[in-house]
């Protein structure tokens, strides 16, 4: 006989079929997945990209080691809104076709409305086109913005950027042949001159340098921003955070110096 007296058959059947390692094993697996995600993300997002995209468009691959302190120093070549000598500078790496960059652009304009007039905060715009997500338009518009800057100056750059962010639908759904000429007319730059400039490719390396710096500092998606104080304190801002968060961070940065 298989059963001892008094031991019900169902207990034996259950004992044979239940696996005591299932639940703890599943918990360990879930914990590993969560831990791996946290460890490898290192507190910043990782943008998907293919090796072929990198090989064809980028001169450098995202580095294995990132260093947020490697944020490139702000120079006259940068596009700055506000006081260039402001004690708090927010360097944003952005993509003209990213919907969340458009949201964050509104937030940053509100921030500049509040802090820009008093000279407390400056906003630096750098390029971070996401080739895998926006292969059609992002780099072209980035180059066009640089050409507008070359022809008409920093104010025209910001007018172009504000306009493009406000009127276009994002995610490569914009018909550039329709939208860009309208923007050029509003700003007052010659469409032919801008298009010749874009076609020449002379700003491709500048855009790529911005992309490389974004990767080097830990950026893996957009918007990717770095708040820098005059004393050199650095705060990374990942994603389109709310205006309240940015304001609080500015306040913290001002206190910490």
């Amino acid at each position: 006989m298989e059963e001892t007296t008094g031991a019900p058959a169902r207990t034996t059947a259950w004992s044979k079929q239940s696996n005591p390692y299932l639940v703890p094993g599943a918990i360990v697996l879930a914990g590993f997945l969560i831990g791996a995600g946290l460890y490898f993300s290192g507190g910043v997002q990782i943008q998907t990209f293919t090796d072929t995209t990198l090989a064809s468009k980028s001169l450098s691959a995202p580095p294995a080691q990132t260093n947020i302190a490697a944020v490139r120093a702000i120079t006259e070549e940068d596009h700055i809104k506000g006081n260039p000598n402001a004690p708090v500078v927010i360097v944003e790496y952005s993509d003209y076709e990213c919907p969340f960059c458009k949201r964050f652009h509104v937030t940053m304009n509100n921030i500049m409305q509040k802090y820009g007039k008093t000279g407390e905060v400056a906003w630096v715009y750098r390029h971070f086109p996401l080739d895998q997500l926006h292969p059609r338009n992002a780099r072209i518009v980035a180059a066009a913005s640089e050409c507008v800057n070359e022809l008409a100056g920093n104010d025209a750059f910001w007018q172009f950027t504000d306009g493009y962010m406000a009127v276009t639908p994002s995610n490569d759904r914009t018909d550039l042949k329709t939208v860009l000429p309208q923007l050029y007319r509003e700003i007052g730059v010659d469409q032919g001159a801008v298009e010749d400039c874009v076609a020449s490719g002379r700003y491709d390396q500048h855009v790529q340098d911005d992309v490389d710096n974004a990767f080097l500092t830990g950026g893996r998606g957009t918007p990717w921003s770095i708040l820098v104080t005059k004393s050199g304190k650095i705060y990374p801002i990942n994603g389109a955070q709310s205006q309240q968060t940015v304001e609080q961070l500015i306040s913290i940065a001002q206190k910490e110096g």
């Binding site: 298989e2 019900p8 058959a9 169902r10 034996t12 259950w14 239940s18 696996n19 005591p20 299932l22 639940v23 599943a26 918990i27 697996l29 879930a30 997945l33 969560i34 791996a36 995600g37 946290l38 460890y39 490898f40 993300s41 290192g42 507190g43 910043v44 997002q45 990782i46 943008q47 998907t48 990209f49 293919t50 947020i68 990213c98 969340f100 960059c101 949201r103 964050f104 937030t107 895998q132 997500l133 893996r220 998606g221 957009t222 705060y235 990374p236 801002i237 990942n238 994603g239 389109a240 955070q241 709310s242 205006q243 309240q244 968060t245 609080q248 961070l249 913290i252 206190k255 910490e256």
Partner: protein, 187 residues
């Protein structure tokens, strides 16, 4: 089904358990993209504790600015369902006290649902954070580009799995406490 949930809701310890777990999961999703920023602020020697707390609290506003409607919905859904699941599981374990196999099955499916949800978590502006991190290790990031929602499918799958587990747990709780007859072996 509603009666089981109502029963759970009126017992403060299970309601508190559900709320705590839901809050923890939701907070994890909101804070994950900015862990290093949080660490920088919280480790400050000069800021008072209430300012640190206020800053961390302000990050919850990111659910509106940093998430698409889809990703915000499944993030909240995963958080709520996980909390409800854990409370249901605790209630069921206490009630049954020995149905190892059935608890294990529900637990495994629930954890699979949570793991899938964790995979899918990430603000839409950041990309699917966790899965991209893990896939990067295996050099298979290109997989995500094939998926129509860039990996957010895992979040949706997490909600579905957790919803299924919630349903089965409630069914088990509603089932009468009887011993199942196991057919005797012959030979």
């Amino acid at each position: 089904m509603v009666s089981v949930l109502r029963q759970l809701g009126t017992q403060w310890k299970y309601a508190l358990l559900a709320l705590s777990v839901s809050s923890a999961v939701f907070s994890f999703a909101i804070w994950l993209p900015n862990m290093s920023l949080i660490a920088t602020v919280v480790s400050s020697q000069t800021l008072p504790w209430y300012e640190k707390l206020s800053f961390v609290w302000s990050l919850y506003g990111g659910i509106r600015s940093n998430f698409s409607i889809l990703s915000a919905t499944y993030t909240i859904g995963i958080a709520l369902l996980t909390g409800i699941n854990v409370a249901l599981l605790a209630y069921y374990i206490r009630r049954v006290r020995g149905g190892v196999r059935s608890i294990a099955n529900s637990g495994v499916t629930g954890i699979a649902g949570l793991a899938s949800g964790v995979f899918g978590i990430g603000c839409a502006s950041c990309g699917t954070l966790v899965i991209a991190s893990v896939l990067a290790v295996f050099g298979t990031l290109g997989v995500l580009s094939i998926l129509p929602f860039g990996g957010e499918e895992f979040g949706i799958l997490g909600v579905l799995l957790l919803g299924y587990v919630t349903y089965t747990l409630i069914k088990k709780i509603n089932a009468p406490l009887v011993c199942e007859h196991a057919p005797a072996k012959t030979g």
